[in-house]
Symmetry: C2
Subunit: 399 residues, 2 copies
Amino acid sequence: MKTPRATPGTGHLASWARQLERSPLQKLLAQTMQPDVLSLALGLPDLDLFPQAVYLEHLALVLQHDPRALQYGPASEQLKTAIVKLMRERGVRCSEEQIFLTNGAQQGLSLLVHLLLEPGGMVLLEDFVYPGFQQVLAPFQPAILSVPVDRQRGIDVDAVAAILQSGARPAFLYTMSEGHNPLGISLPFETRRQLITLAQRYELPIIEDDAYGLLSYDGPTPPALRGLDEDWVFYVGSFSKTFAPALRAGWLIVPRQFQLHLSVMKEASDIDTATLSQRALASYLGVEDFAAHLERLRTAYRSKRDTLLAALGQHLPSYARWEHPHSGFFVWVELPPALDTTRLFEQALAQNMAFLPSAPFSVTRQARSSLRLNFSHPTHESIWQAIRRLGALLESNEA
Amino acid sequence: MKTPRATPGTGHLASWARQLERSPLQKLLAQTMQPDVLSLALGLPDLDLFPQAVYLEHLALVLQHDPRALQYGPASEQLKTAIVKLMRERGVRCSEEQIFLTNGAQQGLSLLVHLLLEPGGMVLLEDFVYPGFQQVLAPFQPAILSVPVDRQRGIDVDAVAAILQSGARPAFLYTMSEGHNPLGISLPFETRRQLITLAQRYELPIIEDDAYGLLSYDGPTPPALRGLDEDWVFYVGSFSKTFAPALRAGWLIVPRQFQLHLSVMKEASDIDTATLSQRALASYLGVEDFAAHLERLRTAYRSKRDTLLAALGQHLPSYARWEHPHSGFFVWVELPPALDTTRLFEQALAQNMAFLPSAPFSVTRQARSSLRLNFSHPTHESIWQAIRRLGALLESNEA
């Protein structure tokens, strides 16, 4: 076979994809999914918590009663109404006209970046960023400004202020106010307020990724950033962690003047039509007690978080540092700078234990001495076993 | 409210979307969907033909027996296997490694364009092109070369040859070999062969949009272009017309070295994970008689096509010209150059009848005297009534 001239490298996204092919992340992830591996690597929800049977009932209701259930059609207004209601739990007031339904949160992030960023433009990130968002950014080859994150107080607001005062005008700041991935941080209310003040003063759009916002474990949380500002915060929500990933049901909350633009952009990328998943989810949310479902999730994940924290306390050497996450799926563990967690990852895998090293999260790829542990997916027993192995591994590295 | 600096116009896709906002197509489409309108405008499948009850059975099977049915997971290998089998009907031999599952054909088109085209690059189109593909192209602001299409013989291969001989090297040619949208043409075998010879000689990638390829009404069809060449043809398939649009189930067939690149690109745009729809469709295709289902569709659509052709023969003035389409959803009607079908569309709407004028399909927007009629969605009775109104309208325009 001749090699087509069309071989990757022709389109600009393709040449970027060729770079990613050489990145180790895909390979890492594949390795952690081997059946024997005790994996605390990925951010998967616990599948025992999916409301599979009840969801099937609503698929049946929709398919049996709506003759247009499988036809092309506009996004579900019923689902938007349910989301408006749900958003009150995040301290966000909005209307149906501001909700834009997406094929999961990832498409929401992608649409917002295409809306706000020019190729080669400038963006403002934290030092550690969800790799899926870095993937969205990569084809734009943006100039990246990054600011430190304190393990307790979160994003360094003074550093953000200094950058904006210096005259830099990034296209947006990307952040997570609740259940930060990978750091597990929930921003204190005061930090949120300061961030919003800066956004308003310097007219800085903020992309708020709130995939974990409804999964908080220690009582009420401060409002989402979107709850503090309607003009500058572009909110990204998702049912992937609170219902199930395979539905691909996410949403944006944006000023209503963006609806049409987003719709045209979505139409070009995959046609802006209601899916059966969205229709069934709308039916479910209209009838079932989603608040009770969320409480079940919180109870289960709180308990797993506590197991992970207990296991870390028992098995990790005293030089390891971590915080107590109030929401989300992750605990971030900092080790001494001499320890390279990418190397440690290989050693852990050899002993059938997996975490994610800090390098893929690090915007500079230079921060190599931390690691991310997931507690949502593994069983309690697996968490104990995995952390025991990790502890032993760290001990053997000292010796 | 202050106007955010982030107002559309910041990102390059956004500024393109702002142009589209002013395009009349969205408005046209909204008007044709009013309940009283006898619409032959859109390319919707007949929803009475959706296998809704059987599909529900397979959703139930998957949800009751696969505990990972709603979890993140790799694309369904079972669905790829079913597609490999199905492709034999289009004269295409391929393997699972060459199938890439997409969120409908539209995402397949979008991914291919991102793979093959640089912003500002050059593309080769026919004079009339599916507007959804023009939407995919628009943000790239490509230089467009276009070639005429003969109502019977299809794409003007000599014109393609002349362009390539002149030294132009477009990133790809986009075409539909079977059930052309909007022209209704099925390419003669000889034309397909000539096109492939040119693609191979000049190393020209071809994007073959085959959304209607399995819906042919007059006996066996020639193989798809992909059946004649494996190196240069990038094939786009879809279950939207043969099963149901709301599943968003499409696929690409590409040389296997592109799999990883497409996966990285899809991961960035909406996460490359199996959806419940794909899993249930795989279950359906593994057990049910899809060939018999396709025969039911062909019988129903053949009969509606014949109704439309009969109605045209009875009600349209003798100056109107159309062909007998062997596949797809559409009949293309040519009227005298003096007639502007965009104006005619407004008049038709006033009488509660709708078609689509030629302008949105015309690459130059200059071809304004033809119109597209859909026969898949309306009832036989609606087709008769609508064409009677169209005939009367044309008569009154003459008077």
